[in-house]
Amino acid sequence: MALDKTIVARIATLARIKVSDSELESLAGELSGILAWIEQLNEVDVTGVAPMTSVAHMKMPMREDKVTDGGDRDAILKNAPQEARGFFAVPKVVE
């Protein structure tokens, strides 16, 4: 299925990536090309086939519900672009 500029702009918003008007055109072409190539999968009969949910044949392991880690605030904040009083800081969201 071919994607037009409107759809690409909508996907870009969902993905939170700013895309300029000039880029929309070329992206629409590239993405449509990839999707057209992927269309070959429609030839395959998948009736009654279960989707793969786990690569390895194993059960998801359970562990005891207890805290095993923590108290590393300073180490975690060390990589933050901006922090304030022990918190990550972001642009104001509430007026």
């Binding site: 996907i11 990536i17 642009p91």
Partner: protein
């Protein structure tokens, strides 16, 4: 070039134990080689001080006769593995300045085994690519050149820096990760050995995530034995990765018996793809002859879903990537580009931080997971993935391992195959199926192309049967007797 950098990992380890040379001497030789080969751009971060400190600690242990399995062995680490307090960028601008406060499980295991870190190697941004050209630190050069042609070639990708470093004798081994072929394809392009173990064999904890159900850490080395030794140290159950397999790790090196008599080796007829060069076909045929002379039995098998593997991959991998890469929001680590609002900050940061190929994949992934398209794309792809895995299960009722070429062509020049993303994707046509099915697979150098470039053979095994893969690969390795070396 120092004699010490020409040793195999296995011989270097034995030499250290026999005190023929020290870990310091071995490490210095490799640091010199790293400095002399900077034009390859294989490393994005060099850690010489750490390397010398680790070598000194190894020498102290070796002196006491307490050396661990890889004591004093200098390795390179793909810049996708989190290394404590050492810059880890995934070769993306969005991780600019990121110094992880913790160590990945696989690298922690290597340091526990006594290995020495030389530095971090380049990759395609977030491991998305097959040429190492999408790294934000610039392309890596393959140490090989075509005969009579001085144009630089790509090392393959995404673990291109690791493969180039091992081929250029800068490191005795390197870590890689394989999501669609990212260990095996660069190993093939650089004339070295690349092993992708079974999904769950090596922990993904602390490896920057691309597509979680497809990401496999593994080793890149110069010999099959070295790959067995390095994988041994990297493997094992990790409670911090819920997909890590709680199964014992066998002694991989013990599987290198040289005896493959009576083994049935599958040759899949569907891997004769259109337009495959005659030299690749001939190499494959030689591989079949080699295993036959060693007493194994080639059997024709059918993997009919193979032709859909790439398209399936290009739904599943971008879908998982779009979800995994949602974490890069300019809040907790890495790049932040200011914006008027929180959303504008996210959008500006991600626009500036991600490169073109990463954006393409996030957008495709977002689309195939979006309301109304999920069933048509993602769910259908996961069903076809089941069929691909069933193909292999069927095949393994008739054979013990599968032999194919690693790639449909040798290394290409920088800039070739870049006009259309799908042409680049086709590099991975033989390697992607084993990722989708989570099976162990190795590439080893087995011959030269008409213009003098290395070509790889590829052995795929049953889940958790790395031993047979290694056993067959070692027999092919000794039959191929690949002694050619890169020019740089």
């Amino acid at each position: 070039m120092s004699e010490l950098t020409r040793l195999t990992l296995s011989d270097a380890r034995d030499g250290l134990r026999a005190k023929k040379f020290s870990a310091r001497e071995l490490t210095e030789a490799h640091l010199d080689a790293m400095a002399a080969a900077r034009s390859l751009n294989a490393f994005v971060t060099e850690t010489p001080d750490q390397a010398l400190a680790m070598a000194a600690a190894s020498d102290a242990k070796l002196a006491r006769g307490e050396g661990a399995a890889l004591e004093g062995v200098p390795l390179a680490i793909k810049d996708l593995f989190c290394t404590k307090d050492v810059l880890t960028t995934a070769c993306s601008r969005i991780l600019e300045g990121f110094k992880p406060p913790y160590e990945a499980t696989v690298t922690a295991k290597l340091w526990d085994a006594g290995a020495v870190m030389l530095g971090k190697t380049s990759l395609d941004e977030f491991a998305m690519g097959s040429s190492n050209a999408t790294s934000c630190h610039g392309p890596v050069e393959n140490p090989w050149r075509r005969r009579g042609d001085n144009r630089p070639l790509v090392p393959g990708g995404s673990s291109g820096g690791s493969a180039a470093a091992v081929a250029a004798r800068i490191a005795l081994g390197a870590t890689g990760t394989d999501t669609g072929g990212s260990i095996r394809q660069p190993a093939s392009f650089c004339g070295v050995v690349g092993m992708k173990p079974t999904y769950g064999r090596c922990s993904r904890w602390g490896v920057v995530a691309f597509a979680s159900s497809l990401d496999h850490p593994g080793p890149i080395t110069r010999t099959v034995r070295d790959a067995a030794l390095m994988l041994q140290a990297m493997s094992g159950h990790d409670p911090k990765d819920s997909t890590s397999a709680p199964v014992p790790v066998p002694d991989f090196a013990a599987s290198l018996t040289g005896d493959i008599r009576g083994l049935k080796i599958g040759v899949p007829k569907e891997y004769r793809v259109d337009g495959m060069p005659a030299e690749i076909e001939a190499l494959w045929q030689r591989g079949v002859e080699w295993i036959k002379s060693a007493g194994a039995i080639p059997v024709e098998i059918s993997l009919p879903m193979t032709k859909y593997a790439l398209a399936t991959y290009y739904i599943i991998a971008p879908a998982e990537a779009s979800s995994n890469l949602a974490r890069y929001d300019g809040v907790r680590f890495g790049l932040r580009v200011p914006g008027e609002s929180l959303d504008a900050m996210y959008e500006n940061t991600r626009a500036a931080g991600f490169g073109a190929e990463v954006k393409r994949r996030i957008l495709i992934g977002t689309y195939v997971l979006s309301a109304g398209y999920y069933d048509a794309y993602y769910l259908r792809a996961q069903k076809i993935r089941t069929l691909i895995a069933q193909d292999f299960e069927q095949a393994f009722t008739r054979c013990d391992a599968i032999l194919t070429p690693t790639t449909p062509s040798p290394a290409f020049a920088l800039g070739e195959k870049q006009d259309d993303p799908i042409t680049m994707y086709l590099n991975d046509v033989f390697t992607v199926p084993a990722d989708l099915a989570g099976l162990p697979a190795i590439s080893l150098p087995a011959g030269l192309s008409d213009d003098g470039l290395p070509l790889g053979l590829h052995v795929i095994g049953r889940a958790f049967d790395e031993e047979t893969v290694f056993r067959v690969a070692a027999v092919l390795e000794s039959a191929a007797n690949f002694t050619a070396e890169p020019t740089r």
